[in-house]
Amino acid sequence: MAETATVPTYRRAGGIGRLLERYPFLPALVIVAALLLLNGFFSPNSLTFRALTGLLSTYMALILLAIAQTYVVYAGDIDLSAGAILSLVNVAIVVLMERWGGGAGAVFLALAIGLLLGLACGLVNGLVVAALRLQAIVATFATSIFFTGLALYILPVAGTPAPALFWRTYGGRLFGVPFVFYILAALVILLAVMSRTRLVTQLLAVGDDQQAAYQTGLPVIATRIKGYVLCGLFSALAAFCITGDTASGDPLVGGKMTLYSVAAVVLGGSALSGGWGTVVGSLLGALTIGLINSVVFFMGTPSEWQNFVQGLAILLVLMAGVLAGRRARS
């Protein structure tokens, strides 16, 4: 295009700011790297391939939940029911797999239904928040209570084991490589593909300024609903991972994970006010939470101080993440 050449391309100076603007997850990456080094320093064993595999397979669920959360945060919303959706899908698929005999067919069918269930929960949230215009924090807290009730109805007490086929695959190896690495690779590809979709840009535009997006002609309500549906779907994927890692159903398993997922999103450099962020950052944010927990232990912190030190470390890293993220934007 000849015209392209005529476009003025002045650029602002400031290498780091520019870099942060392009890759807002860089601070999170640095933090993860530093925490890995610290872990390795205090306990060399924690950097073995085996230990890293373990870290990944344990935190894959939180990673996915944080990614789920990111898509609603993009649009300036929040989903406090993500953990409850995870629990609900977890018990639903475990119960179904068991009822249908635990063969490969049963597993796949149950997973498909699990995805549908996640989608349905996301849709409910989306309708309630975007279409009925209830405030996201309180409305999704209410739906989380509802989803937990549903999970308790399906499986009143934790216990039903998942079929061995399922969790052995998740925890096992394929061509000598641990299965979680395939999941990670698939996830990275999926995220890369997702980031190119129109939906993601629309979510970010809606999160940036909802009224402006509406006046521009974006389908704001539909976009926000889709954000919640994505969140539901990724929460379901997170449920698959937690089922793979725990091999059982537990109606309360995700309860504590919701707030961690929000923290992970912020640690990853996304703005809770919407319009700004990356899913890769959230992935790193989830790993940060896991690594902080380990490092506090490996440092030899006395047990009564562990919770305090963890809380403090997370607070400090949250602050660092927010400050770095702001640098990127200013």
Binding site: E3, T4, V7, D209
Partner: protein
């Protein structure tokens, strides 16, 4: 054949009748100007056409077919594109994304077509080649742009809709002359290609330069439509203001009284900071000092810095005889400094709160009040608002129920309860209608006469020439010329402004 026809369109916000009866007919290939004072319902009318406001009644025809516009998307599908007075940009998205946001190009149905996006952006940015100013490129985030650049992006966005019918609701309020010129060239071209264009501005010269016909709107009613070629400004203004006929005082010819003997109110020596350097000047008591020049040459930055809301690297400020270095607006206010910004939605309006609370904050601070007694405050607030001829239903109505111009009056009124020593006006008439402007400048002169030192930055030459005793012309962050006495001519002002460029 008319491109668009409105008949009897109306809209009420609660008790406020924003639009009583909107009638309008837009032909292909014309620039149709809407004129009316602040709050007369122009923006409301435009938003109804663009689908972002739901009309209470009336009919809309596009190409003579009756249509129902159910929202912005539906408006687009009927071939309507709009520039919003308050802009509709996503600050954290790039310029190119913003330009195409309404209809993002996709491939394989779900993915963004980046190359198409880029090409499209290049096309519209290219139209403004050379006037976009520094730091403007396709991948800059809109939030990093200056106000005038943002307005350009909003214009590009409206143009990119390629709609046969385009609405521009005050698109030029932050633009400099060169930008306006370029924009008008584009409009003329669109006109030639048969587009129908609705254009709103409060600047008479712009209207004469670009408009074909004008529809006057007063108190939410469209009064009449005239051919601009066959009418004169005085008639238009008379129609806008209504029967009362109290014409605004002419502004172009009467220079204000030369300063009295009261000494200096404000001294600035060698001030440097972000956006300006080595600025020095003095303002006497009773003097109105004008700041002129193209947009963004450091005028606002200097004023904000004096007020404590910008950065100062070096230099000295005196109010009266005492050194003054406000680290924040609160300090500045306490020391008798006042600042009125043209960007009222950002700097001024406390939206959602009653009008009275929008007038009182300065009074709270200067009188160190703790308790807010409505009865007492009302007595203080009412005269200030009256002196600006502010229109409002009651002091306890929310600020948002006022039109843009009346909001600006409220914001100016907040400085009138406790008189400041120095008044800094940063393009204060942006979006204010002609009669309000006249009220404002009468007031400013009266304040000057009472001994205030006033600095007036205006993007309208007429305002400067008509009111300032001296004019400092800014260029590239410093004062390039001072115009006094008989030098204060439109020609000199133009020349000084464009000198370096």
């Amino acid at each position: 054949m008319s491109k668009l026809k409105l008949s009897g369109v109306s809209k009420a916000y609660g008790a406020t009748l924003a639009l009583r009866r909107g009638d309008l007919e837009l032909m292909a290939g014309e620039v149709h100007v809407l004129m009316g004072s602040n709050g007369s319902g122009k923006s409301t009318l435009c938003k109804i056409i663009a689908g972002s406001v739901r009309p209470d009644g009336g009919k809309i025809f596009v190409d003579d077919q009756p249509v129902t516009i159910s929202g912005p998307r539906s408006a687009r599908s009927h071939g309507i594109g709009i520039f919003y007075q308050e802009l509709s940009l996503a600050a954290r998205r790039s310029v190119e994304e913003n330009i195409s946001l309404g209809k993002l190009p996709v491939k394989s149905r779900v993915f963004i077509d980046r190359s198409e996006l880029r090409q499209r952006a290049a096309r519209y940015i290219g139209l403004f080649d050379g006037v976009c100013g520094e730091g403007f490129s396709a991948d800059t985030l809109v939030g990093n742009l200056r106000p005038d650049q943002r307005q350009l992006v909003e214009i590009m966005k409206a143009l990119a809709s390629e709609a046969p019918l385009l609405i521009f609701d005050e698109p030029t309020s932050a633009l400099d002359r060169a930008q306006v010129e370029r924009f008008f060239e584009i409009l003329r071209d669109l006109k030639r290609r048969g587009r129908g264009i609705i254009f709103i501005s409060h600047r008479m010269d712009e209207i004469k330069a670009i408009g074909d016909r004008v529809t006057i709107i007063r108190d939410g009613e469209t009064i009449t439509t005239l051919n601009l070629g066959e009418t004169d400004p005085a008639t238009v203004i008379r129609l806008m203001v209504g029967g009362a006929g109290d014409m605004p005082a002419s502004q172009s010819s009467v220079p204000a009284v030369v300063e009295g003997e009261g000494g200096t109110a404000l001294t600035v020596r060698d001030l440097s900071g972000r956006g300006f350097r080595n600025v020095s000047f003095e303002v006497g008591r009773g003097e109105i000092l004008g700041f002129g020049g193209l947009h963004g040459q450091g005028q606002s930055a200097v004023l904000r810095a004096i007020f404590g809301a910008g950065s100062i690297a070096s230099g000295e400020i005196l109010i009266g005889d005492s050194r003054f270095d406000a680290s924040n607006p609160r300090d500045a206010i306490r020391r008798g400094c006042a600042y009125v910004s043209g960007d009222r939605s950002r700097d001024g309006v406390i939206s959602g709160r009653p009008i009275i609370e929008n007038v009182t904050p300065i009074h709270y601070l200067r009188d160190r009040l703790m308790i807010a007694r409505p009865g007492k405050l009302r007595a203080k607030v009412a005269p200030a608002l009256d002196s600006m001829h502010t229109k409002f239903a009651s002091l306890f109505h929310p600020m948002g129920s006022l039109s843009g111009g009346n909001q600006q009056k409220v914001i100016i009124a907040r400085w009138l309860i406790d008189r400041p020593d120095v008044l800094l006006l940063d393009d204060p008439t942006k979006g204010i209608d002609l009669s309000a402007k006249a009220d404002l400048f009468a007031l400013i002169r009266r304040l000057a006469a009472e001994g205030l030192g006033i600095v007036l930055y205006s993007s309208e030459d007429a305002e400067l020439l008509g009111n300032a005793n001296r004019i400092l012309v800014f260029n590239g962050g410093s004062v390039s010329r001072e115009l006094t006495g008989a030098d204060r001519t439109r020609y000199n002002l133009y020349q000084a402004a464009y000198e370096a460029a």
